[in-house]
Subunit: 252 residues, 2 copies
């Protein structure tokens, strides 16, 4: 069993680099931390490559570490590679899954994000999509990087629960329409109050950027654009909250 004594170990330097998007893309791996996230990741086949645990912590007995390299390290190593203020003493290196054309199927519920920049918002929406029983999440261009530490933490493990694709929203919108899945955009300016559409088993819902909303070119491709009525004096809702209200309404 490997044991790492120093933060100057080359492995530690490599792990720490995974805080940067470029390094994640080059290596095809990302890092997660905390007992809950590592546990959720271990439930997925062929995802986790290495588990790094502080020597003053123990591996929960129910974890299945077959095909996973287990590495013990001094507590400082875990502090070094952590991006949280109070590291739990456990981390894991995971493979970035292939973007193997996750195809949309008929009768699915899909959440699409158009240029949602805040990592906390992206993560929270993935978590809510999981809870609402959505079948897939699609991150369009301009979205926060799926494998950044803040996004992963905000998903609370849901990143491992449902397929998440990344790519050009236009082609996904077209796919939905070909499958007769109604596509709803969101816009403060135009559209109908969301309560006017019928909940259904199958729909695609698009949420947009925190400040600018959805791209006009995407708004023009939808079947219907929705808004959430504002009854008080606030100008808008947080995009993650809006996503939750709409997903739970539309699924009925």
């Amino acid at each position: 069993m490997k044991h790492i004594e120093s933060v100057k170990n080359n492995k530690v330097k490599q792990w720490k680099k995974l805080q940067k998007k470029k390094e994640r893309e080059q290596s095809g791996t990302f890092i997660i931390e905390g007992f809950h996230l590592v546990e959720e990741a271990l439930k997925v086949d062929n995802l986790v490559e290495e588990v790094i645990i502080s020597e003053d912590r123990s591996i929960p007995s129910e974890w299945d570490l077959n095909h996973v390299e287990l590495i013990y390290a001094v507590p400082n190593v875990l502090k070094e590679i952590s991006e949280t203020e109070t590291p739990q003493g456990v981390a894991a290196i995971c493979r970035i899954p292939e973007q193997n054309e996750r195809k949309i199927q008929p009768n699915q519920k899909i959440l699409l994000l158009d240029n949602v920049q805040d990592p906390g918002n992206v993560g929270t929406m993935i978590r809510t999509a999981d809870a609402a029983g959505m079948d897939m999440v699609i991150l369009g261009e301009g979205c926060a990087d799926l494998y950044s530490s803040k996004v992963i933490r905000s998903t609370q493990g849901s990143i491992f629960h449902l397929p998440i694709a990344r790519g050009d929203l236009k082609s996904y919108i077209k796919e939905c329409k070909e499958l007769q899945t109604p596509v709803y955009g969101t816009s403060l300016q135009n559209g109908v109050p969301y309560q006017e559409v019928q909940p259904s088993e199958s729909f695609a819902l698009i949420l947009g950027n925190e400040g600018k909303g959805m791209a006009q070119e995407h708004l023009e491709m939808t079947d219907q654009n929705l808004y959430i009525p504002i009854h008080g004096q606030s100008e808008s809702l947080n995009v993650g909250v809006a996503a939750g209200i709409l997903m739970y309404f539309l699924r009925g």
Copy 2:
């Protein structure tokens, strides 16, 4: 007109201290920053005492600065008192309103927060309550401090749009019940799916702590406890998202 040249000016030191809760309580004031928030604050009578603006910025012509002291300062002063990474060059010192027993009226919609600790969650829920047309928000014990910079920023100005009380939730729950306002708690363990209750003009809704949920003693005082069904594999929803789904559903 006052002009402050140095970050060592005593006023600057005092303003900076307002980042701490204790100092806010002792002085009875709090600090806000950014053009949008200061503009929203200026619309409220007797709230803003001082506006501090960087000498390289201009006051928007529509701002009414009667009864407000306007202070120009070098840009570094605004940087010094700011809690954001990219300060906009404007801030204001506001009076903390008297806790003059904000009484609940009959036929109101009230949001109560029970030990919600994350400032972003508290702020977002105030923003959503404003949007959903709630009449009042009540922060129970253990909640993030209303006048902290992060809470204020997350409200996006809604902190100035509706009455927000702080105090013991028990007395507020009792008041609601005396006024025949139905009180709904939230709990993952017990209760009914939220869709089983009827939307109505008047209700009180309680959301709880991010990890532990609502206090048992409060759950026992409600008329009904609700939960949001989880259809996927996530364990729970973000509390701010849950609040949005429930407020928009219950108001109908």
